[in-house]
């Protein structure tokens, strides 16, 4: 785990008592979690929902850390997001991928700046589901390995359109959350292996979905699927996860997931555990 991320984890714990004094006017869990690139969403997929619990008259945000343990990699993420009037979300995230090379570990870091605008609709109310448009600017800071495997460049922008809706009582009385996201990207492994490659260097449209059921007021279980392009010709896999999320209050959320990242770089069968902690303020 990278040092800045570890420091940030301490910071997050220090901030929690502060966060405990806030609390926006949206309903519990409607701010979602923080996905791997720092936007409000599930674990993998950015959703149309905006970070935090602020309504049209409020502002608020989140700070989150996550850690994914795979057989040959560890991926840490620290993300900050802030939402203005349930309309615009801005976010910043640092990812750190540690590769276990046997002879030692190598670290690949990436910074991501995100913006998301709610175009229309609402997650829970009104006729239209929530529809948002997002951008993620990604800059890889450690290009040695990405270049060695053929990445064309270190930075790039992903654009996505996401639609989310919570259907109250829809499945035998349980609430059902559906999210569909369509992303235009040319990132390799989220950008951790740079952008573009010998097999493809143009934008591809990649669908991503999340389905979740709320078991009670504060817990949800769900499934996510995220398609990824294979620009490097390394058989890059689509990702899936099955997650469990717990929202003990509007200030805190925990999530745990079993992630199947398939083949990543030279290693295949990368299945592991994802854990995240989010504070909202």
């Amino acid at each position: 785990m990278g040092v800045p991320i570890r420091q940030a984890a301490c910071l997050l714990l220090l901030c929690l008592p502060l966060a405990a004094q806030a609390g926006g006017g949206r309903l519990l869990a409607t701010g979602g979690l923080t996905q791997l690139e720092g936007a409000a969403g599930g674990g993998l997929v950015p959703w149309a929902v905006l970070a935090g619990y602020g309504t049209a008259d409020e502002t608020g945000g989140t700070i989150a850390i996550s850690h994914t343990v795979l057989p040959d990699y560890n991926l840490s993420m620290l993300g900050l997001a802030y939402t203005f009037y349930n309309r615009v979300e801005i976010s910043a995230a640092r990812q750190s991928l540690a590769l276990d090379l046997g002879s030692g570990t190598e670290e690949i870091r990436q910074d991501i700046l995100g913006a998301k605008v709610r175009l229309t609709g609402d997650l829970v109310y009104d006729t239209l589901p929530q529809l948002s448009l997002g951008l993620q600017y990604k800059r890889n800071r450690d290009m040695d390995t990405p270049e060695a495997v053929g990445a064309e460049r270190k930075d790039g922008v992903d654009a996505y359109l996401a639609v989310s809706r919570l259907f109250l009582g829809a499945i035998g009385g349980y609430d059902l959350l559906l999210n569909g996201t369509l992303r235009a990207t040319r990132a390799n492994e989220l950008g951790l292996l740079g952008q573009g490659g010998p097999d493809n260097d143009s934008y591809k449209l990649m669908p991503e979905i999340s389905v979740a059921v709320l078991l009670n007021r504060s817990t949800a279980v769900g499934y996510e699927y995220r398609r990824k392009p294979d620009n490097l010709g390394l058989d890059e896999s689509h990702w899936h996860d099955v997650f469990f999320a717990w929202f003990p209050s509007k200030q805190l959320a925990f999530a745990a997931a079993l992630v199947d990242a398939g083949s990543v770089g030279p290693y295949d069968s990368q299945r592991g555990l994802y854990l995240s902690l989010q504070g909202s303020f």
């Binding site: 309504t55 049209a56 109250l168």
Partner: protein, 145 residues
């Protein structure tokens, strides 16, 4: 049109008409039952009005409300909405909430009160969600007016 399709279409239409005709008299009161019928709903409204009276975020809207009437009309409304044998005798939502300028956050605060009461009264999560699903479409007739 394909000549094979026509009889199927006629059959489907007949089935749909039949379904409409027969759904009239039998009303689904399973939610009403799950909420504990009239008695359960009255307790729910008691609890809700009590929580509102303690909720500083929204209490200021209720200073001139008539609690007796509110108790009666809310009970009728929940009863009718849940498929129970009641008729709502209050005014329509727009008329009642006009000029209050209720915000999204205030609306959700009342919903949270309702959820707390339902949790407290151990109403099953499925019934809670089904009631909320029937109240949610009213939001646009309540907020921002």
């Amino acid at each position: 049109m394909n000549r094979f399709a026509t009889p199927w279409l006629a059959l489907a239409l007949a089935a749909m008409l039949g379904a409409c005709a027969s759904s009239g008299p039998t009303r689904d009161d399973s939610l009403y039952q799950a909420l504990g019928e009239r008695e359960g709903i009255e307790m729910l409204v008691d609890g809700l009005l009590f929580r509102i009276s303690e909720n500083q975020k929204i209490l200021h809207h209720f200073t001139e409300a008539d609690p007796g009437r509110l108790h009666r009309t809310l009970t009728e409304q929940f009863c009718e909405l849940s498929g129970g044998p009641c008729t709502y005798s209050g005014d329509d939502m727009v008329t009642v909430h006009t000029a209050m300028r209720i915000t999204e956050a205030e609306f959700n605060s009342l919903v949270e009160d309702l959820i707390q009461v339902m949790e407290h009264q151990r109403i099953p999560i499925q019934a809670q969600n089904r009631l909320l699903a029937r109240l949610a479409p009213m939001r646009s007739e309540i907020i921002g007016l």
